[in-house]
C-alpha cells in the first residue's frame, strides 16, 4: 500500500504534465504540417476562407478536391469561418504563429499591418498568371511594388433592390441623387415594406452608408491622404456625417435595424431583401450570392436589380466613383510552395468561371467574365468599368483599429446616440489606443 501511493502520484504527475503540454501545443499544431514541406513526402496545407455554406463553399470544396487529385501527396485542409468572426480569429492565429498556409485576405490597412510584421509572403506571378488577372484588381493587392495576395473577384458596392417592390410602389426609374432616393423611401413606406434594410448589428453594413457619403463628399486625394496620416481634419468627413444624419431623418431603415445581422438567417438584412420584406440594401457585389441562399427556394432572387450609390449635390468626390472590395487570398511566409500553386490554379479560366457562377460575382480573369450574364452583375460590371476611380471599403483601407472605431461610431449616430463630429473624434481616439 505504501509503495503504491508514490507510484500512482508519479503516474498522476506524468498525466498532468502530458495534458498541460498537449493543451499548450495544440494551438500551434495546425501550421506545422505545412512548414515541413518537401517535394517527395506528403504535404498538408491549411486553408481559411470566409465563404458561407451554399454554392460558394461547394466551389472551394470542389477546387480543393480537384487540386488534391492533380497533385498526389498534397492535402488541403479547408476551414470555412463565418465572415464576422474571421478577422479576430485570423489575428489570433497570426499572433500565436499558427497562421494558416493559405488565407482569405481583406487587403488595405489590414494587409499593410501583416506586411509590416512579415506575416505574409510576397508573390511572384508568372506571365500566365498575369494574363489571368486584371491589372486593376492586382493593383489593389500591391504594396511597395510587391504583390501580397491573389485577387479572385472584384466587388463594387451599390444598392441592390427588388424590381417587383419598386413597381408596386410606383417607382419607375432608379434614383440617381439622394433627394430622389428619399422620395423613393417614402413611396416604399406607403406599400408597407421596409424601404432599406441594413444589418447594423454587424456595424460595417451601417458604416458603409457613411463611407459612401464620404466617397461623394471627399476628393480622391483627401481619402488617400487619410490612409497614411489617419487624420480626418478635412471638413468633408464631418459633412458626410451631416449627410447621413439628414438622410436618417426620413427613417429609411427597417424597424429594429440595430439588432439585425447582415448575412445570417431570414431575419438578416439580406434575408429581408430575399423575402420581399425590404426594398433595398447597400452592399458589395457578393450580395446576390448571399441573397440567393436566403430566398424561400434557395434560388437567386429573380427580380433583383442594382444601381450605384446616388450622387450627393455639391460633393467634391467624382459622382461615378465607386467603393468596393477585392476578395484576395494570401500565403503565409512559412507555407509550402504548393500553397501559391493552389492560388494560381484558382486563377485559371475554368476555376474563375466556376467561382463567378458560384458566388454570383465578377471574376478578375477577363476570359471568365463571359459567364457574367445576369442583369444585376452586368450592370455592376458596366458601372465599374465606367467609374472615375475606385476606393476600398474605408474600414479596410484605414486598418482594423480605426476602421473598427469608425464602424461603431456610425452605428451610434444611426441609433441617435452620436453626432457627425463624434465619428471623426472616434477615429482620432482609436488611433491613440493602437
Amino acid at each position: 500500500m505504501m509503495k503504491k501511493t508514490p507510484a500512482a502520484a508519479i503516474a498522476a504527475l506524468g498525466l498532468g504534465v502530458v495534458l498541460a503540454a498537449a493543451a499548450c501545443s495544440s494551438g500551434g499544431g495546425s501550421s506545422n504540417g505545412g512548414n515541413s514541406s518537401s517535394s517527395t513526402s506528403s504535404v498538408t496545407m491549411t486553408f481559411w476562407t470566409n465563404a458561407t455554406p451554399g454554392p460558394g463553399l461547394t466551389f472551394f470544396q470542389n477546387a480543393v478536391k480537384s487540386f488534391d487529385a492533380a497533385h498526389p501527396g498534397v492535402t488541403i485542409k479547408m476551414q470555412a469561418i463565418q465572415n464576422e468572426d474571421y478577422d479576430g480569429k485570423l489575428q489570433t492565429a497570426l499572433a500565436s504563429n499558427s497562421t494558416p498556409d493559405i488565407f482569405f485576405q481583406r487587403g488595405g490597412g489590414k494587409m499593410l499591418a501583416m506586411v509590416n510584421a512579415n506575416q505574409v509572403a510576397p508573390l511572384t506571378l508568372s506571365a500566365a498568371d498575369q494574363a489571368n488577372v486584371s491589372a486593376a484588381a492586382l493593383a489593389g493587392e500591391t504594396l511597395n511594388g510587391k504583390i501580397y495576395a491573389i485577387p479572385l473577384d472584384q466587388q463594387p458596392e451599390g444598392i441592390y433592390y427588388s424590381k417587383d417592390l419598386f413597381k408596386q410602389a410606383g417607382i419607375t426609374s432608379t434614383p440617381t441623387t439622394i433627394p430622389e432616393l428619399e422620395a423613393d423611401v417614402a413611396k416604399l413606406k406607403a406599400i408597407n415594406v421596409a424601404p432599406i434594410a441594413v444589418g447594423a448589428k454587424d456595424a460595417w453594413p451601417a458604416a458603409h452608408w457613411y463611407y459612401n457619403f464620404a466617397l461623394r463628399e471627399c476628393s480622391q486625394a483627401t481619402m488617400n491622404a487619410a490612409g497614411t496620416t489617419l487624420k480626418f481634419t478635412d471638413p468633408c468627413w464631418t459633412k458626410a456625417g451631416d449627410d447621413l444624419a439628414a438622410f436618417l431623418k426620413v427613417n429609411p431603415f427597417q424597424q429594429g435595424f440595430l439588432t439585425t445581422a447582415a448575412q445570417v438567417g431570414a431575419g438578416s438584412s439580406a434575408g429581408l431583401v430575399a423575402n420581399h420584406k425590404a426594398g433595398m440594401e447597400l452592399m458589395g457585389a457578393w450580395d446576390p450570392g448571399t441573397i440567393s441562399t436566403l430566398t424561400p427556394n434557395q434560388k437567386p432572387l429573380p427580380d433583383l436589380g442594382w444601381f450605384p450609390f446616388p450622387a450627393v449635390p455639391g460633393g467634391q468626390g467624382d459622382p461615378s466613383a465607386m467603393m468596393g472590395g477585392i476578395d484576395g487570398y494570401s500565403v503565409s511566409p512559412n507555407a509550402p510552395k504548393e500553397a501559391f500553386e493552389f492560388l494560381e490554379f484558382l486563377l485559371t479560366t475554368p476555376q474563375q468561371q466556376a467561382y463567378a457562377t458560384a458566388f454570383i460575382t465578377l471574376p478578375v480573369n477577363k476570359a471568365a467574365q463571359s459567364v457574367v450574364t445576369d442583369s444585376v452583375s452586368v450592370s455592376a460590371l458596366q458601372a465599374l468599368n465606367k467609374a472615375g476611380y475606385t476606393m476600398q471599403f474605408l474600414d479596410t483601407q484605414y486598418g482594423q483599429n480605426v476602421g473598427n472605431a469608425l464602424n461603431a461610431a456610425v452605428v451610434n449616430l444611426m441609433a441617435g446616440k452620436g453626432t457627425p463630429a463624434g465619428i471623426v473624434s472616434a477615429a482620432t481616439e482609436a488611433a491613440a489606443k493602437g
Binding site: M2, T5, L19, A117, G399, A432
Partner: protein, 336 residues
C-alpha cells in the same frame, strides 16, 4: 482528494513509528522515523499537487502576468511588443467615456442581480420547501434554464425579442399591443431586458443554493417557535432568514463576481459592436471590442488587468467584511 490521501498516509506512518518505539527504545527511533515520514509527506504532497499547480500556474497565473506585461505596450499583436507606453493605456481606459459606461452597466447589473434575484430566489425556495403537489417538476423547471448553454439562450432570446419577433407578436395577439417595443435596441429598455434574461437564466442556481440552505436548518427550531405562538412569517423572518444567512452571503458573492465578468449573453444577443450603443456593454465586451476586434492587443490586455483588479478588490473586500462572520461560525453562536 490529494489532501485526504496524504493525511491517511501520515496517520499510518505515525502509528507504525509508535509501534516501533513501544517495542523497546521509545526515544531514539521515533524522530528518525518522523523525519523520514515528513520527507515522504512533502514528496507526496509535491507529487500529488503538482498537476494542479502546473495547470493553475500555467493557465491562470502566467496569463495574468503576461497580460500585465502586454498592458504596458502599444501592441498590435504582430511580433514581440516594442512600443513601451508605461501607464498610457490605463490613462486612456479611465478617461474613455465608453469604458465608464461599461463600468456603470456592470455596477447596475451587480446591484440589480442581488436586488431582483435574492428575494425572488428565497421566496421560491420557501415555496418549494413546502410539501406541494408537483414539487419535483417545478424544481426541475426552475433549474432547467441554468443548464442551457448561454449561446442557446442568447440566440433564442435575440430572435424572440426582435421588433417583429415572437414576444411582440404574442403581446399583439393578447391585446397588449401597446406594450410591444424594441426590446433590444432601445437604450432605455435594453438593460432591463438583459436583467430579465439574466434573472430567468440564473434564478435556478440561486434557488438550488437556498433550498440546500433551508434543508440544513433543523426543524425543531421553527417547531419550538410555533409552539411559542410565532406566525409563519415570523418564523421565516426570525428563524429561517438568519440561519439562511451564510447561504445568502455565499450566493451574493458568486452573483457579484459573475455580474462583474458578464460577457457571453451580451456578446451573443447584441453582437460584437452594438452593446455600447444599446446600453448593455460590460467591461468584458469593451475588452473584446477594443482589444481583440480592433487588433489592439496591448490596450486590450490593459483592460483585462483593470477587470482583474476590480474583481479582486471587490472579492477581497467582500471576504474581509461580509464573509468573515461565517468563518467565525456565526451560525452556531446564533443558535446558542
Amino acid at each position: 482528494m490529494s489532501h485526504t490521501l496524504g493525511n491517511a498516509a501520515v496517520g499510518r506512518i505515525r502509528r507504525g513509528a509508535l509501534q516501533v518505539g513501544d517495542a523497546a527504545h521509545a526515544a531514539s527511533p521515533t524522530p528518525r522515523a518522523r523525519k523520514r515520514g515528513r520527507g515522504r509527506q512533502r514528496l507526496e504532497i509535491a507529487l500529488l499537487t503538482s498537476p494542479a499547480i502546473i495547470v493553475f500556474v500555467g493557465l491562470v497565473i502566467f496569463p495574468v502576468g503576461l497580460a500585465a506585461y502586454y498592458g504596458f505596450y502599444k501592441w498590435q499583436g504582430y511580433g514581440p511588443p516594442t512600443d513601451w507606453v508605461g501607464l498610457g493605456n490605463y490613462k486612456i481606459i479611465f478617461t474613455d467615456p465608453t469604458f465608464q459606461q461599461a463600468l456603470e452597466h456592470n455596477g447596475l447589473i451587480v446591484v440589480l442581480s442581488l436586488v431582483i434575484q435574492g428575494p425572488l430566489a428565497i421566496l421560491l425556495a420557501l415555496l418549494l420547501n413546502q410539501k406541494i403537489r408537483g414539487r419535483a417538476l417545478i424544481r426541475v423547471l426552475i433549474f432547467v434554464p441554468y443548464v442551457i448553454s448561454e449561446v442557446i439562450v442568447g440566440t433564442g432570446f435575440s430572435l424572440m425579442l426582435q421588433v417583429t419577433g415572437a414576444v411582440n407578436d404574442a403581446l399583439h395577439n393578447i391585446g397588449l399591443g401597446f406594450l410591444a417595443t424594441d426590446w433590444l435596441a432601445n437604450p432605455n429598455i435594453a438593460l432591463w431586458t438583459l436583467m430579465g434574461i439574466i434573472t430567468w437564466k440564473y434564478i435556478g442556481f440561486a434557488v438550488l443554493l437556498m433550498l440546500a440552505g433551508l434543508q440544513s436548518i433543523p426543524g425543531e427550531l421553527s417547531e419550538a417557535a410555533r409552539i411559542d405562538g410565532a406566525s409563519y412569517w415570523q418564523v421565516q423572518r426570525h428563524i429561517t432568514l438568519p440561519l439562511l444567512g451564510p447561504t445568502i452571503r455565499i450566493w451574493a458573492f458568486l452573483s457579484i463576481i459573475g455580474s462583474l465578468q458578464l460577457f457571453d449573453l451580451v456578446y451573443i444577443i447584441w453582437g460584437q459592436y452594438i452593446s455600447g450603443t444599446a446600453g448593455t456593454s460590460t467591461m468584458a465586451t469593451y475588452m473584446a471590442l477594443n482589444g481583440r476586434l480592433a487588433g489592439n492587443y496591448g490596450y486590450g490586455s490593459a483592460v483585462a488587468v483593470v477587470m482583474f483588479l476590480v474583481s479582486l478588490v471587490v472579492a477581497l473586500f467582500y471576504q474581509r467584511f461580509v464573509l468573515r462572520r461565517d468563518l467565525r461560525g456565526a451560525v452556531t453562536q446564533g443558535v446558542n
